[in-house]
Amino acid sequence: MVNTKGYRRGTRYMFARKFRHHGPEHLSTYLKVFKIGEYVDVKGNGAIQKGMPFKFYHGKTGRVYNVTKRAVGVIVNKRVRTRIIPKKINVRIEHVHHSKCRQDFVTRVKDNDARRKAARESGHSVELKRRPVEPRKAHFVKTAKNKPQLVEPLAYEFVA
């Protein structure tokens, strides 16, 4: 039997409200400001049926390309077989959150600019690249309250 083509088919849990978070939406959702070019996460909110995203876009992140009275236009990438199509969807505010994917990058850029400026003024050189965590360097270990324990395997005992 072929799957039914209902618009919200298979979304029983996806658009369901979380446990004890039913009812009216808190107003800070409506006070958030969205600007063109910002990254947003699309997350359908089952309590508000207007302007809901299609189930595919739930959990996707895109960029805002348009802002209207109560909604934003988001460009989301969708893979269709061999290619990726940038799709434009119109979503109401309640189904959209500011994405934190960009936050780390933006703060790092700001931080780097400040450090570069400070380095230029002081004359020191500065390492701005991120380094992955290196293995621990050689060091002494105190054994005063930390005696080494000898660990041995137990002799094999046959149990019937």
Partner: protein, 298 residues
């Protein structure tokens, strides 16, 4: 009584979802609030100001507020308990006092924003319908929306007196005459004169006269403080007229002197002893015990 199942058992409480806090307190109508606060997204950070009017048993609170995620910010506020400064000493929660509070708030705000010379509002109190228009070439009029809270919006309600005071003070608040006293819902006609009487305390004056003619004793009892202050049904309109003039003359709030408060230390438990103090305590205890034991032995 048979065996009745306990409804409010552990499972009930585990599953219970509380309403929003201010709804639980019964103070905020969130549906109304959503409408008042929500700004068009294509207007980005432009604040949406609202004129918040609340009545307590003895006071009127009028504030210009705009919403932010961290919490609403109050731009300017006026209270009925400030009215004695302008000459209104009695009846601080009546229709006329509400009008005066709204007027005070509007003039105070416009002075704060340096718009008071441009937007005078209506200095002649006629009770007629009036709206504030933008003056060409100058900064636009200050627009805000009335927030009545949980009060029922009936014709003649005092929240609209406050709003009318603010409009006559120079704020642009969209409204119609429908809920002012003097509006006849059957004939759909608005009698500005009735409204004017209410604004100037005429309805209080009328009652004073009625009571005086009907029952002198009851009159003296009801309006004892008015009589002590020398306010009669004839002079009551004058009180409000001069108060409006005083408000327009100097609406700035009175600054109270803040005494620098000495920092009070709050501690609810004992302070922890330092290592030296603990060692000392132990040594002292040891000495005491040994002394007792040594003394007991001998």
């Amino acid at each position: 009584m048979g065996m009745v199942k306990v409804v409010k058992n552990k499972q009930y409480f585990k599953r219970f979802q509380v309403k929003l806090r201010r709804r639980r307190e019964g103070k905020t109508d969130y549906q109304a609030r959503k409408g008042l606060i929500q700004q068009d997204k294509n207007k980005y950070n432009t604040p949406k100001y609202r004129l918040v009017v609340r009545f307590t048993n003895k006071d009127i609170i009028a504030q210009i507020v705009y919403a932010k995620i961290e919490g609403d910010k109050v731009l300017c506020s006026a209270y009925a308990h400030e009215l004695p400064r302008f000459g209104i000493k009695l009846g601080l929660t009546n229709y006329a006092a509400a009008y005066a509070t709204g007027l005070l708030l509007a003039r105070r705000l416009l002075k704060q924003l340096k718009l008071d010379k441009i937007y005078e509002g209506t200095t002649d109190v006629t009770g007629e319908e009036s709206h504030v228009e933008d003056v060409a070439g100058k900064p636009g009029a200050f627009k805000c929306f009335l927030d009545v809270g949980l009060g029922r919006t009936t014709t003649g309600s005092k929240v609209f007196a406050c709003m009318k005071g603010a409009v006559d003070g120079g704020l642009n608040i969209p409204h119609s005459n429908r809920r002012f006293p003097g509006y006849d819902s059957e004939s759909k006609k608005f009698d500005a004169e009735i409204h004017r009487k209410h604004i100037m305390g005429g309805h209080v004056g009328n009652y004073m006269k009625e009571l005086q003619d009907a029952d002198e004793e009851a009159y003296k009892k009801q309006f004892s403080r008015y009589l002590a202050a020398g306010v009669t049904s004839e002079t009551i309109e004058g009180v409000y007229k001069s108060a409006h003039d005083n408000i327009r003359a100097n609406p700035a709030p009175e600054k109270k002197e803040q005494k620098p408060k000495p920092p009070k230390n709050k501690r609810w438990n004992r302070k922890k002893l330092s290592h030296a103090e603990v060692a000392n305590r132990i040594a002292q205890k040891k000495k005491a015990v040994l002394a007792k034991v040594g003394g007991g032995d001998e």
